[in-house]
């Protein structure tokens, strides 16, 4: 269990003696159980993918969105409280519209990320607000710039990344992503890799059944943030399932080999 705040954790306007704001840390806990969201910044664009748990047989899966488009060229993938994240997305759309009315162009990724980071941070400053219980990944491909990827957590901290993960299994996913050479990686490769990682880390016994929602903003999509074409996504999902089945097969074979080998004798 996490350390109790012992009275310093009742309000977001209180520091603990060791300089922590517990309410913000607790907000981050809300994300740890939520579906994984992965973003990769490639040489030719950005890809965002989310593992969407199917909570009920009766839900229309296409109606739940975890990735939203903001200002045409930016995508926001969320993990944590969906309702809280919706407010961040709406604010993002307002920022994009306002930027366009002043500067006659689509809002660049770093500007959008910094504005939303300020908005999220705002909600950690006042007693009458609570922090957002969600983290967001912002993938952006401004036509006048380069692909960008940012992550913002409930404290309002914003960093740019080559690859970022939020939600459950994020440590395991990060170690998978560290192997990539981002300078030459393409979006098509990223689509396959994200599907592979999500399937690999999904535990059938513990986690619910799921679907993958994947979007990109790349040269093929004219730098606009849209859903990955259905055929490409299906291909990636099929490949991911195949690879997962093969890995499980291999590890079963290894277990069988261990059974056959004679027990090692201790040396005298």
């Amino acid at each position: 269990m996490s350390a109790t705040g012992s009275g310093y954790d009742l309000s977001v306007t209180t520091f603990s003696p060791d300089g922590r704001v517990f309410q913000v840390e607790y907000a981050a806990k809300a994300i740890e159980k939520s579906g994984t969201a992965i973003g990769i910044r490639c040489a030719d664009g950005i890809v965002l993918g989310v593992e969407k748990a199917i909570t009920s047989r009766m839900i229309l899966n296409e109606s739940t969105r975890r990735i939203y488009t903001v200002g045409i060229h930016n995508g926001i993938a969320i993990s944590g409280f969906a309702a809280d994240a919706r407010q961040i997305v709406n604010r993002g759309r307002e920022e994009a519209t306002s930027y366009k009315s002043y500067y006659a162009g689509p809002i660049p990724g770093n500007v959008l990320a910094n504005r939303l980071a300020g908005f999220i941070h705002l909600h950690t400053l006042y007693w009458y607000y609570r922090p957002f219980g969600c983290a967001v990944l912002i993938g952006s491909y401004n036509p006048q710039g380069e692909p960008e990827l940012y992550q913002i957590d409930p404290s309002g901290v914003c960093h740019g990344y080559y690859a970022a993960v939020i939600g459950k299994n994020k440590e395991a996913a990060k170690s998978e992503l560290e192997k990539i050479d981002f300078s030459t990686y393409t979006c098509k490769e990223a689509v396959k890799e994200i599907a592979r990682i999500i399937y690999k880390l999904h535990d059938e016994s513990k986690d619910k059944d799921f679907t993958i929602e994947m979007t990109w903003a790349c040269n093929d999509s004219k730098k606009k943030h849209v859903r990955v074409p259905a055929d490409l996504l299906q291909e990636a999902v099929d490949k991911a399932k195949e690879m997962k089945a093969k890995e499980e097969q291999d590890s079963d074979d290894d277990d069988d080999d261990d059974d056959d080998a004679p027990p090692a004798k201790p040396s005298k």
């Binding site: 939203y68 488009t69 759309r93 994009a96 519209t97 366009k100 859903r227």
Partner: protein, 244 residues
């Protein structure tokens, strides 16, 4: 005893006449006619590329026929800056629609309705957007053409033939005579070109450079600017003093 709404209107119209002018009721940079017709595959719209500054032919390469979305084009005559403002309003709507990503796209009749509300509201504040707008589009689901107009007072109508400005006087009769809903693309084009040529001859605020747009089931296509052949060699035009 006057009604309160009447008081507001009178007050607004008094405000429109004082300095500084915060309510403008006369245009400065203007575009001339826009013509549009329906035909077999969809709708076609044509306009010249001139924005006049009074009697001066000031901006000779402007586009007065613009795409709104894959099913609609908008043409405007009158104050060019107001057209640019209206384009920005519509772009905000289409951007929002793109972000929403729910499979819906605004239909031409919805755009027509939206614009008519905007125009009527502005007129009611005695600060009109000084345009006559033509909304032309094609509804792919119903396989139907749509053609309508809105003016600066907020009056709207739908028809198979629409013309603005001098086109209403000079082109409309010619369009009515030559139009057929089932005419093919080249016949529709020829008809519009004939009318634009007549307008070039007779309307002093036009130039011989046009955009033509068509909206069909396969989307919107707006041509690059091009000119039409004209005939200036008539004997008595060259020399009005001929007696033979």
């Amino acid at each position: 005893r006057r009604k309160p709404a009447m008081d507001l209107l009178l007050a607004a119209s008094e405000q429109a006449k004082v300095n500084p002018r915060t309510q403008t009721t006369s245009p400065i940079v203007t575009g001339a006619s826009v013509l549009a017709i329906t035909y077999k595959d969809g709708v076609m719209m044509m306009a010249d590329t001139l924005a006049s500054y009074g009697s001066m032919a000031r901006y000779k390469s402007v586009q007065r026929v613009e795409k709104v979305n894959d099913g609609t084009v908008l043409g405007a005559s009158g104050e060019f800056s107001d057209f640019q403002y209206i384009k920005d309003l519509l772009e905000d709507l289409t951007d929002e629609e793109f972000d929403m990503d729910d499979g819906c796209q605004m239909l031409p009749q919805q755009i027509h309705s939206y614009l008519s509300r905007v125009m009527y509201n502005r007129r009611s504040k005695v600060n009109p957007l000084y345009n006559q707008l033509v909304v032309a589009g094609y509804d792919s689901k119903k396989s139907e053409s749509y053609l309508g107009a809105v003016d600066m007072y907020g009056s709207t109508f739908k028809d198979d033939i629409v013309a603005t400005g001098y086109g209403m006087y000079l082109a409309l009769p010619l369009l009515r005579k030559g139009h057929d809903k089932k005419m093919d693309e080249s016949a529709a084009r020829k008809l519009l070109e004939k009318c634009m040529t007549v307008l070039f001859y007779r309307d002093c605020r036009t130039i011989n450079k046009y955009n033509i747009a068509k909206v069909t089931a396969s989307g919107v296509e707006i041509s690059k600017p091009y000119s039409l052949p004209t005939q200036w060699g008539y004997k008595r035009f060259v020399n009005p003093h001929l007696t033979e």
